[in-house]
């Protein structure tokens, strides 16, 4: 398959303007600026490219929601890649930052936006340094700033570094953080396209989405729509990690069987072990099992399978892994990252973690699984953002698909705890009623 985003990605110095231009860089920008903003928008609409950040909303439609007029509009590139398992944007920014900048300028032109920000997570220090240097180079060459390439179009671009908070990848949490506040998500509507950064209309796009824009302009939207499937056009960077031989980023045409990704490209689990379960779109997506490896890897097929493509991050766990241990990691992470604004998420993530720890310590009964499953349904759809849902969906799917295993874990842990309690009683020489419950860690 012909690579689009990853074409020449490992070329030494591709992060410099010189090499990028030698590879044909910024020619799409010249082409876009010679077109009218409406024509550029039409190309984006025709391409039918869906957002690569997680929600999969068509980019062209997002741009078209921006109000027309002379008000101050903003473009924010979401480079806060924090979804567990996802590392595709990192590779783009580190190796080909000008691709992102070019796409961003074209996107801003389509929406007639004059101020842009890139919000990059604070942990990506190397990538932020590279991007900052690239922005300075692009500004010196006249690709950013006033009257870009003599077109009369102005755009300022500021790189903003975050400071470590998963929730700032959520678009409205990101906006609050960019305004210098705690990254608490906002009530929607109004949606950012109407009232976003500094209360102005704001277009928010993921790094990968914007990086694809130059190619859409070069080849034409309709041509781009030929790649992939009808509902999921184009190519997608997929981060494969966990129990696979060759973890890393792969650029695939949307719609190929997931098995080809996990086994063909990434080599499958080591030592011939079998896949037990896998997350198809980051840790927030409901898990699939080894029986669902042939689901085509695209937005619609994943939705039909009851999960989601999300950020395009596959995490594979092989047959030796415990569902419970993964669920504990998951719940602990979301409990820590919940911003605390909405009660169902703040309490639900925390209590789910505690209940999972009860299973581990042998205090749980099979009824706890039902209670836990009901907590998940009470979180979903009841918060301002989807952080709580992002824990509830995979945990709910684990309880649904691996209930016998979890029930067995409960019994084994109970037996272990009982045995330990009897030992303690014998050792201490005290009566049974003083043994007390096993403390929760």
């Amino acid at each position: 398959m012909k690579k689009i985003l990853f074409d020449n990605i490992d070329e030494p110095g591709l992060n410099t303007l010189e090499v990028y231009q030698r590879r044909g860089g910024y020619r799409a920008l010249r082409k876009a600026l010679s077109m009218s903003p409406e024509d550029v928008l039409k190309q984006l609409m025709d391409s039918n490219i869906r957002g690569r950040g997680g929600a999969g909303f068509p980019m062209g439609r997002k741009v078209s929601f921006l109000p027309h007029g002379d008000m101050q509009k903003y473009l924010v590139c979401n480079a806060d890649e924090s979804e567990p398992g996802t590392f595709k944007d990192r590779e783009i920014i580190q190796k080909s930052p000008h691709m992102l900048i070019e796409g961003l300028v074209i996107g801003a032109y389509a929406g007639q936006i004059s101020e842009a920000f890139i919000y990059i997570r604070g942990e990506y220090q190397l990538q932020a340094d590279i991007l900052e240097a690239a922005i300075a180079e692009a500004a010196r060459a006249g690709y950013i700033g006033e009257n870009i390439l003599g077109s009369g179009f102005d755009l300022s671009l500021v790189l903003h570094r975050g400071a470590g908070a998963y929730i700032c990848g959520e678009e409205t949490g990101l906006l609050d953080s960019l305004e210098g506040k705690r990254g608490n998500p906002r009530l929607k509507p109004p949606f950012p396209a109407i009232e976003g950064l500094y209360d102005g209309p704001t277009l928010i796009n993921n790094v990968e989405t914007l990086s694809t824009v130059p190619y859409i302009i070069s080849m034409g939207g309709e041509q781009y729509a030929q790649i992939g499937t009808e509902g999921s056009t184009g190519t997608k960077l997929v981060s494969v990690s966990g129990d696979v031989l060759r973890p890393g980023n792969y650029e695939i045409e949307l719609g190929i069987p997931s098995r080809e990704l996990i086994y063909g490209l990434a080599g499958g689990p080591p030592n011939g072990r079998e896949v037990k379960f896998w997350f198809p779109g980051g840790s927030s997506s409901p898990v699939l099992t080894k029986d669902e490896l042939d689901v085509p890897y695209d937005f619609d097929s994943m939705a039909k399978a009851g999960t989601m493509l999300g950020s395009g991050a596959i995490i594979v766990a092989d047959e030796t892994r415990s569902v419970l241990d993964t669920a504990i990691k998951l719940a602990k992470f979301y409990a820590h990252e919940s911003c605390g604004k909405c009660v169902p998420c703040r309490e639900g993530t925390n209590w789910t973690h505690k209940m999972l720890m009860r299973i581990k310590s042998g205090e749980a009964t099979p009824m706890d699984l039902d209670i836990m499953a009901s907590i998940q349904t009470q979180i979903i759809g009841n918060c301002l953002c989807v952080l709580g849902d992002a824990m509830a969906m995979p945990i709910g799917s684990m309880i649904e698909k691996f209930r016998p295993e979890l029930e067995a874990e409960i019994e084994v842990a109970r037996a272990r705890a009982d045995a330990a309690a009897i030992e303690d009683v014998v050792a201490l020489g005290v009566a049974d009623e003083h043994a007390g419950p096993i403390p929760v860690h």
Binding site: E81, L126, A335
Partner: protein, 256 residues
């Protein structure tokens, strides 16, 4: 209710979720925006904060960059550091504290200037042994005040799992034996594990590796774009250049 004087009972048995903000001292008067005349600020820090403020339409957007800068000077977001940022930005210390306590990379507990080691303990890394790595890293840095080890959310480098970020430099895949080396490298001021740095890692996609053989063959670029530019070899020395400059693409592990 008399204003701000009520003492709020707090339970000692752990009903407060660990990781949430510390309880507010309700007996203290709220601090006001500090007086620039009585709050000295290092000139470099002031310049850095002012430069950050100038980049945004609203100066408050510079809070995170400003706190990062102050933390670099003081080692953590100490009351002194917060006061200095508040003076330059003309906001209240409470506002800055509210932000500092939200973000994991901003340190709100006393800590001398130190090296940060973030060990990723999220799903992909933990599948491949991050918990053992974390234990080994803590053991290796035990008693060393200058090395601060902590487990961290997914750092976005699951391809080199299990991994850690050492002062921002991503290294992996790590074994428990690497931990002593990391501490030794940090104490000696050396580059940490140069063989395991993410910056030198090539893309694993076999299609990309095949394309890598074409390196150095220029495409038919617009003459206007390339006029006056030097060769790719010289560009390798420029600042901000990316990872695989010195390393040659290795033989790809193709699956075909």
């Amino acid at each position: 209710v008399s204003a701000g004087r009520t003492s709020v009972p707090r339970f000692a048995h752990g009903s407060r979720v660990p990781g949430w903000d510390d309880a507010v001292d309700l007996t203290k008067e709220p601090a006001v925006v500090p007086d620039p005349a009585t709050t000295p600020v290092p000139a470099e820090l002031r310049a850095e904060i002012e430069a950050a403020m100038a980049k945004y339409p609203d100066r408050r957007s510079a809070v995170i960059p400003a706190l990062h800068a102050a933390q670099a000077v003081h080692g953590w977001c100490s009351p002194e550091a917060i006061d200095q940022v508040a003076t330059v930005m003309q906001v209240t210390p409470a506002y800055l504290n509210s932000v500092a306590t939200f973000y994991d990379m901003l340190e709100t507990h006393p800590r001398p200037p130190h090296n940060d080691v973030y060990v990723c303990t999220n799903i992909s890394c933990s599948l491949l042994g991050a918990d053992e790595l974390m234990d080994a890293m803590v053991a290796a840095a035990a008693g060393d005040e200058t090395v601060h080890v902590r487990s961290f959310e997914c750092l976005g480098a699951c391809d080199i799992a299990p991994m850690a970020s050492v002062n921002g430099e991503y290294v992996g895949p790590l074994t428990t034996e690497d931990c002593e080396q990391i501490v030794a490298d940090l104490n000696a001021g050396r580059t940490v594990l140069p063989d395991k740095q993410l910056r030198y890692r090539l893309c694993v996609d076999p299609g990309v590796a095949a394309g890598a053989r074409e390196f150095g063959v220029p495409t038919d670029a617009d003459p206007a774009d390339t006029a006056g530019l030097t060769s790719a070899d010289q560009s390798a020395d420029r600042p901000g250049t990316s990872a695989p400059l010195q390393t040659q693409p290795e033989k790809p592990e193709t699956d075909a």
